[in-house]
Symmetry: C2
Subunit: 486 residues, 2 copies
């Protein structure tokens, strides 16, 4: 499990056979001439560690697992503990309630958003649209213009969902009277929250705030959430780790593809729902679940958050416990660096666009849903969901390639989450910021692509990669905390 000491190469793949005459390390072009003259060339895909940054390379060397070194042994022990807590997590959906009643410290005029902290002035289009929608939904303003003035004038307090134990897809806007799913991980003593998924089309999380969006939010608050909550209390908590494990055997990766998990969840809840609600409410809730193949996404996210928070705050640990995007910046948190965010500019995801749209229309990478990848599913479990390449681009083999690559930057395999196409190998789990920086292999994130204007909605789906600077920033801070000499 621990990274080998002084490991420096990203993709060392020995391919010796009888015909090798030359060894080429690094830049591939050096091999062209000998190869043109007929010599067999073994190429090492070598890059200098830490992208050639000398200080960072030295820091990396000090942070490597080493039983004979006080720092190296502390990091190793801290990571072991972090990974154990992630693997031991057992997130259960225990209830559904109002955000204001459940998120500790949430003020009456708080609006939570996806990603690391950001001010109204810097927010992207879809996030601004969703803020306007939340203000109208809460009744703090009567018109979009008034809502915008309120947001701009400091009339609401913005904070990341993550600061309140919550996660939100895309814009991730969460206001006090919205319903949230409550996920408890008793093994780790953590609780996590997420909104209920609205479905596709015109939805708040993509920045839409028209009457249809607000009406749906009200129905979700007044009907869907109470009905599901009653059904849940009548039948008892739902084991989300088990549901996710089943869904990974059924072609979901539980980020961009949730059709199996949603179907299993709907089938699981239906009997209790029918017993605890009127026929009309039950039928409408079941119709909503039938029409929304992404309903499980928010449950998957809350389960991932409850899982990872159990590994938070272990001094010396380089394990990543959050990756999140606010549409302007990507932020990363590691276990050993407290509540600090390490940020870098967000990019446009690489993917497939719906007809009529292209990269020029796309918002930068957005949403807390990368919490699923942080927990070892989503893009990290692409090999379990080959059908997703039809949605995000690439071939079925690419899906396997993504997962295999993620094994190189993670510390464990989660054997509760077996991947059929890899002989039931566990998902790559426990991202080690050291390995990311050392190898330059960036965590992959399956993601929806939002239009950059508020309210247009989803225009595609693709793959984003978390910037290396987030991880090197976290390592530098860890170095300071561990008093590694500069």
């Amino acid at each position: 499990m621990p990274a080998p000491k002084r490991k420096t190469s990203a993709g060392f793949v020995p391919l010796f056979d009888g015909g090798i005459r030359a060894l080429n390390v690094g830049v591939a072009e050096f091999a062209l001439s000998p190869r043109a003259h007929g010599a067999g060339v073994l190429e090492l895909d070598w890059r200098p560690p830490a992208g050639g940054d000398r200080d960072l390379g030295l820091l990396l060397a000090r942070l490597e697992d080493d039983p004979d070194d006080p720092i190296g042994s502390r990091v190793a022990a801290a990571n072991k503990q972090a990974v154990e807590r992630i693997l031991a997590a057992k997130p259960m959906l225990v209830d559904i309630g109002r955000a204001a009643d459940n998120l500790k410290g949430l003020g009456p005029r708080h609006i939570l958003h996806a990603g690391p902290p950001i001010t109204w002035a810097r927010m992207c289009g879809p996030m601004r649209g969703a803020v306007i929608g939340a203000i109208l939904y809460e009744g703090w303003a009567d018109t979009p213009d008034a809502a915008e003035r309120l947001a701009d004038g400091g009339g609401v307090t913005f904070a990341p969902c993550h600061h309140f134990g919550a996660v939100g897809p895309m814009a991730g806007i969460l206001s006090p009277s919205m319903p949230v799913v409550i996920v408890e991980n008793a093994a780790g003593g953590t609780r996590a929250f997420a909104t209920l998924n609205e479905g596709l089309g015109k939805v708040l999380r993509f920045g839409a705030y028209n009457q249809e969006v607000l009406d749906r939010l009200r129905w979700m608050n007044e009907s869907l959430a109470p009905a599901l909550g009653q059904a849940l209390r009548a039948r008892g908590p739902v084991d989300l780790k088990n549901l996710t494990a089943q869904a990974l055997q059924m072609g979901d990766e539980c980020h961009n593809r949730n059709v199996a998990a949603t179907s299993l969840f709907a089938r699981l809840m239906a009997p209790s729902l029918v017993r605890t609600s009127t026929a009309d409410v039950a039928a409408k809730v079941l119709e909503f679940l039938e029409a929304n193949n992404h309903f499980y996404l928010n449950l998957s996210m809350a389960a991932s958050k409850a899982t990872l928070d159990a590994a938070h705050g272990i001094e010396g640990s380089t394990v990543v416990i959050a990756m999140a995007r606010n549409g302007v910046e990507v932020g990363v948190r590691t276990s050993g660096t407290g509540d600090a965010w390490f940020t870098a500019p967000a990019l446009v995801p690489d993917g497939l666009y719906f007809p009529g749209y292209g990269p020029a229309d796309a918002n930068l990478d957005l949403g807390d849903s990368a919490i699923t990848e942080t927990a070892g599913i989503g893009g990290f479990a692409m090999a379990a969901a080959p059908a997703i390449v039809r949605f995000v681009g690439g071939a079925a083999e690419d899906a396997i390639g993504y997962t295999k690559r993620m094994y190189t930057i993670t510390l464990a395999r989660n054997n509760d989450f077996g991947i059929p196409a890899l002989g039931f190998a566990g998902t790559p789990t426990g991202i080690d910021a050291r390995r990311v920086v050392d190898s330059g292999v960036q965590p992959v994130i399956n993601t929806g692509i939002a239009h950059r204007a508020a309210g247009v909605g989803q225009i595609g789906a693709g793959i984003a990669k978390a910037p290396l600077a987030c991880f090197s920033g976290a390592l530098r801070e860890l170095g300071r905390r561990l008093k590694v000499p500069a």
Copy 2:
């Protein structure tokens, strides 16, 4: 799509490279000596066509596609039409009703069974048990002993399900007052029927007939069937081809693994069910669907039957339109040989057993469910369901191997049924009896394994292979019908 003329080898795989010194055709042992002396040997996995049977080989040659030969061209055209009808099928679940009201010609004392025709005297244990259960359920006798005497004394008329457009898993017992699903394939002008799946444990199809079994059958008749029927009529027909296609993307092969299809079906039906039944009935039906991951099996079977019957009765066609087992014999029907069954002794499936059981406890291969393989799913779509190897034995790669092998004996790929692990290639569809006999490659069938005593139930699951003699028998009859000179 047509088989190459005079193709005679089962698995010709050229593997030339610079080191080849010898070519070995057929028996592998001949290659041992040259290989021991360091020579590269290319092996051809060659076997004589038709297992070395000269007359059958000559018949095969006459039946090969050949535009210049009246027989060869007729067979080619007939098979083209058969495959087109299979691919064009669109089986829809249209209603649920009583067998007596829907199966044309079913008499008041008829009992239908799985596989080709068989008398009471020759029936296997599980089938006898299920017959006793059906007689008790119908009220034709009061005790198991009396039921047995009735069956033995000619008091009931036995016939295959297939003779009435129906299919039944395992013992496949179907009596007049039992409810059936009604599947319509408008494109082919066919209708097919199947009982409703009872779940696992003590169930009629494995030959159990105790009070629990009879009570469940009554509940299914009085509650489940009417409720699902009402819900279905309220919402409209369910497209089973679409459900199967989705399930194949979700790890089902729709024979031995149906968890995705069942979940999708339950989620699809739930809203209408809630609107058309009382809360108590709806809740019980939804609980039943929640507890039974095999509910979709019988729908899959009826859909397969409606699909294949559309290709029945095309003069000259060597396409297989049914494979079925009665627990003693395996029977095959081909399109061009009318209603005749071509039978051979059934064997014990090769598989994994539940703790405490082994092959000595197993009944011979049993059930109409091989209709799914005949339609190109089930064992033929194993590559879509790698998780099934944990149930039937083998590794995830084996699942892919089974499907690839079935391409060699089928005439088409059903592109409506894409297999993610094979780059979304369509399932191998349209078994050609010529190719089976020529290559010796037997159709694989995923199957449950029944205890050979009545009522013990399922004791394992595995892979069965349809005997070659069924297919050569069909070809000989086709030769007679086409007046191929002996």
